[in-house]
Symmetry: C2
Subunit: 328 residues, 2 copies
């Protein structure tokens, strides 16, 4: 089969590509061809089949049609500019996150008109489609009232995915990803970065800054779980979804304090002592509008699996990123 990954150079895209290359198959079908697209060229994995890396802007005229013209059987659409950037640059956010997605859907529809074509399309949405105030746990039928342009663009993507699926142009599955911890790599400027920083840095003997109080609660899954969601979405029987094609992925609700206690169990007091509390009112305010907890029973019933403890999330990071070794 031929798989197209759009947004292949991002963190989740790279993890997904690695998993695809390692497995060599999806749902029992061998992967013969991988097309890896992103705004910058993704790294070329060492893979027995055909691999093509393409630097392209999905929102540019003809870009989506060029990708879809290759008629991939399975498309992962992970490409987006992040929340902070979409909020700062209104036009760019709508162009990349809304128009880019729509161009992709339209390219698939137009390709299907030429000759029968109906790829599985896995779309990464986000819990940012929800905006405060919330119930204690957000259920599967709760409404989308995003408080960011990014969340708005993702919510629109979900609606379009449903409609294009309903009309038979494609076979879509949307996944609202939890906040991913532990994100590998360097600390970044994302408002949510500290959730990872306070684990990742102390685990290698480095200092990390905590800008909010320890009682802040949020919704998490590991990069490993995120890849698992995408692969399950790629292979599941979509008849079970009806025309409600987007799922809130399962995750773990935990406080910053619970993160810290899991870090202590994994790496001791010395690691915890590396966390410097430096309250940042801007981040405190942003985080106050984020979801804290979900009742994701639909995803669980459909076979999606996430971690059930912060210890497990830390263990996944230590195994996948640190070769099993903790310490600086």
């Amino acid at each position: 089969m031929h798989i197209l990954v759009i947004g292949a150079a991002g963190m989740v895209g790279r993890k997904l590509t690695d998993a695809l290359v390692k497995a060599g198959e999806v749902g029992g079908k061998g992967i013969e061809r991988l097309t890896l697209a992103d705004i910058v060229a993704a790294g070329k994995p060492s893979f027995g089949g055909a691999v093509e890396t393409i630097a392209t802007d999905l929102s540019a005229p003809g870009a989506a049609a060029a990708l879809v013209g290759k008629r991939p059987d399975l498309i992962f659409h992970l490409a987006a500019i992040v929340s902070g950037e979409a909020e700062a640059d209104f036009e760019k956010g709508y162009r990349i996150n809304l128009d880019g997605t729509r161009e992709l859907l339209e390219a698939i529809r137009k390709e299907s008109v030429k000759s029968p074509y109906k790829p599985r399309l896995v779309f990464t949405s986000s819990i940012a489609v929800f905006g405060a105030p919330f119930p204690e746990a957000i259920g599967d039928e709760y409404f989308s009232t995003p408080l960011t342009s990014y969340g708005t663009q993702k919510a629109i993507g979900e609606l379009l995915l449903n409609d294009y699926s309903r009309k038979g142009f494609l076979d879509g599955v949307g996944i609202r990803l939890p906040t991913i911890v532990v994100r590998p790599g360097k600390p970044n400027a994302a408002a949510s970065g500290f959730f990872s920083n306070i684990l990742r840095e102390p685990l290698v003997g480095q200092e990390a800054v905590l800008p909010v109080s320890r009682d802040v609660r949020h919704w998490f899954a590991s990069p490993r779980a995120a890849v698992g969601f995408l692969l399950h979405a790629a292979t599941m029987d979509t008849a079970a979804l009806g025309w409600r094609r987007t799922i809130t992925a399962p995750g773990l609700t935990a406080t910053v304090g619970e993160e810290i206690e899991a870090l202590r169990r994994a790496a001791g007091d010395k690691a915890v002592a590396l966390i410097r509390e430096e309250p940042n009112e801007t981040i405190v305010r942003i985080v106050a509008g984020w979801p804290r907890n979900f009742d994701a029973r639909r995803a669980l019933a459909l076979g999606f699996k996430a971690e059930s403890s912060m210890d497990e999330i830390i263990r996944a990071h230590v195994e996948d990123e640190l070769g099993g070794k903790i310490g600086g």
Copy 2:
């Protein structure tokens, strides 16, 4: 004040224009200027102030900017192609109902960049943003899973209205209108037409066809109530909405059987005998996916008012359309 009505030639647009002209003011502010836009020129009302009628396609390049460039203080955006047409012509539906709305919002945003400008924008959404299966009564926090492209386009309009309001480009209020009965005029091909036909035609001594069974339940308001919703949306304090700018309007849940009994009370057995039952499987199937009942407590708390009986709805029709007189 200067009011722009987009979709002024439609049924609700004409009723709204009449109400504006009659009142001469909105929220205590005199109306000096009316701009009436639609795909075909609206009729010119006799009005003391300035009136301009414009035939324009909102989705055409520059069309929205030309309207918004007149800097109306209050904009009613009622324009849309209907459900059946949007379902039959996918491209046209997205062009008119989604791109047209987005062009309008973008024109307002760009106008606000030139010099401070922040009009009140009243947008008519629809209960078609909901798709079966439903709870017994749909609450104010229920999710949008439309089963038509029309409903999808309206749900996207709601999300955009929220985001543009949140960013401060405009002051938006969306209203999800119930199915309007009794629609004046001739029977039309809309799947929902029979809800009006079975009252309107017998009230003037004409036959009407009932294509579904009498236990079909749906959600209704009169044209008079719909105009009331729009005027209230135009003048309400939007601070109470937060960034949840769209409201399910209040309405009346009633069965076809209850419609018929109200007709009997108003016009007797002779009128009821004019209803011919002719089951139509296509219409039965379409209607089965429609909402039946809402718990619209948010709208009621915000001061929106609808009829509380089918008798009242029939009375509004007899007063507004038949000069108080029943019979053929």
